[in-house]
Amino acid sequence: MKARTDRRVLAVLALVAVTTATPFVWALSISLKSEESVFSPGLLPTSTRTTAHLSPQAEEVPVRVLRRLDDGRLRVKVLSGDSRRIVDIDGPVREERRLDPHFENYPRAWTAYPFLSFGRAYLNSLVVALLVTLGQVVTSALAAYAFARLRFWGRDVLFFAYLATMMVPGAVTLIPTFVLLKNMPDALNALLGTDWFSRDLVVGGKVLGTDSYFALIAPRCFSAYGTFMLRQFFLSVPRELEEAAVLDGCGSLGVLRHVVLPLSRPALATLAIFTFMWAWGDFFWPLIVTRSDEIKTLPLLLQTFQGQYGAQWNLLMAASVMGFLPMVGVFLLGQRQFIEGIKLGAVKG
């Protein structure tokens, strides 16, 4: 009785799992096929080798069938050695399918777009996501500690204001932030009497304003959600430990660093993981604020790639596998952490 229930459950799960896995397997499969066989049926990247005897006594050589002539003979192109000639033959051709993965599609896709390689895009995404994560964790932890433990005038009003902004969708702050960044360099230049702020940065993009690393990173370093989540966690740290640290001569910053933060590692890890994932995959904001190729992140490269190589399915799929592989890899390595993080991050109101 129990075993039968289990089997039905497993059957449904298996069906869902196949549905889930199919697009990935398909993309992988196409990415390894050659241009000619990209639409051939079957998941395995195969190629067909056609051979024929040019005359009954001759050795078998690779050929390509051009067309069948009216008299029933085949016109073929000989593909072996230096005798690339076209001959008509009587005999049949033999077709042999063999496994032929075209791994070179990956390096080809890697460098296909001349102004921005995958290497640079990965690096940009990594640097931007790491700095955004660092920024969010540091600013959120400081603010969360203030809201959780420090007593000062206006604290609760301010906290309520923070909570309220968690509901503001990113799409709403987009336009004013864009306008703000656009005006920032000129305003600062005028204020300080320089032209430094509108210059190009050596590593790419401008110093400030739109089309800069600053625009990709700075607006995203502050998180009401992160502050809220860490505050809830900090509240659960035993007060006695903090008081003991104060008696030992720790200031507020010392208590935060030596007592609260070490005890809040799971919450910090959760915030870090999800901030990183979000910053790594974010598309809309970078799409709006970047113009120069050298500062573009991975999603922007993929979008450009699709525009240019949309017809070359094998390269397109190679690019897309390179797009999702890093995150999938990270997830498979740290699966347990991920799942625990999701549960921890869901602070229910």
Binding site: V9, V16, I175, P219, A319
Partner: protein, 327 residues
């Protein structure tokens, strides 16, 4: 001698009143110092923009700033436009179409939630290799993004896509004559919806449901079994109420995300065909980026989007409160 000083000297602690104020100030300074990094960013990139979006929605101009050389005064190029942009919006069929499209695609939220709950209930049974199943089902959520949307665009390709190939293999459509999923105005939205559901069904929602299911006290089910409650009764009277906080959380976050669908549209359909997949956020993007000088219109659209998010959040909150108060 002031009343305050007299009171403190009367209490026998002459210095405490003098110290009270500086101490409060010191606390405030310390609190603000901890808050400052976050608060400045919050002010600059959240609070000011939220106020400003309304300002932009009621003005027109190109919003360049500078210092007027004659008067030496700071200026910003914007003129008051009143409700002009909202009038434009009301009369714009593209706005109504995008609103409808957005609401249609938000249908994915209840569907993906139901499937997530179903999968969580399955995984909550005695299943061998639960962690492996969960990892596999979670994969689309991890991989979600431009790369995955590119794959789905090809899956829906009319001539060589996986879906039409599959349908042809089953004999449902003639080979090479399958529907143009993303190119047909009637099919593009449902096609996007299916992909959204596919991505989300085994993801975060399912993980949260599964965790919540494991927290339901086993004794409740045992008691119900003694009372002779069937599977459906147990689900209705024990499981579903126990999951309510989780459902509320998931519904709120998914709705807020659902209002802001954009990446998928840009990659897969470009808002077409005939605007059939232009979401509100996509329309905002077009007005910021493609049509010059329409920033005010984009801002007005953003205000509407904001309203939609608030309405969705408020509705779920009301629903949750109603459910909690019901006996």
């Amino acid at each position: 001698m002031s009343a305050l000083a007299r009171a403190s000297s009367a209490s026998g602690a002459p210095s405490s009143a003098r110290r009270a104020l500086p101490r409060g100030l010191a606390d405030l300074a310390r609190g603000l110092a901890f808050l400052a990094p976050n608060f400045l960013g919050f002010l600059l990139f959240t609070a000011v923009p939220v106020v400003a979006i309304f300002a932009v929605a009621f003005t027109r101009g190109d919003y360049t700033t500078g210092v007027d050389p004659e008067s030496g005064r700071f200026f910003i190029d914007a003129q008051w436009a009143g409700v002009h942009w909202f009038r434009v919006l009301w009369a714009d069929p593209r706005f109504w179409q995008s609103l409808w499209n957005t609401l249609f695609l938000m249908l994915s939220v209840p569907i993906q939630m139901a499937l997530a709950l179903g999968l969580a209930l399955l995984l909550n049974q005695r299943v061998p290799g639960r962690t492996a199943w969960r990892a596999l089902l979670f994969l689309p959520t991890v991989a979600a993004g431009l790369a995955l949307y590119m794959v789905w665009r090809q899956i829906y390709n009319q001539d060589h896509g996986l879906l039409n190939g599959f349908l042809a293999a089953l004999g449902i459509v003639a080979p090479g004559e399958g529907p143009d999923w993303l190119g047909d105005p009637a099919l593009a939205k449902p096609a996007l919806l299916v992909m959204l559901v596919w991505i989300a069904m085994g993801g975060t929602n399912m993980v949260l449901y599964l965790a919540a299911l494991q927290d339901v006290p086993r004794s409740l089910y045992e008691a119900a079994a003694i009372d002779g409650a069937g599977t459906w009764d147990r689900f209705r009277h024990i499981t579903w109420p126990a999951l309510r906080p989780t459902t509320f959380f998931i519904l709120t976050t998914n709705l807020i995300g659902g209002v802001q669908i954009f990446d998928q549209v840009l990659v897969m359909t470009g808002g077409g065909p005939e605007g059939a997949t232009t979401t509100l956020l996509y329309l905002i993007y077009q007005n910021v980026y493609e049509y010059e000088g329409k920033l005010g219109y984009a801002a007005a659209l953003s205000v509407v989007l904001f309203g939609l998010v608030l309405a969705a959040t408020f509705a779920t909150w009301l629903g949750n409160r109603g459910a909690r108060e019901a006996p």
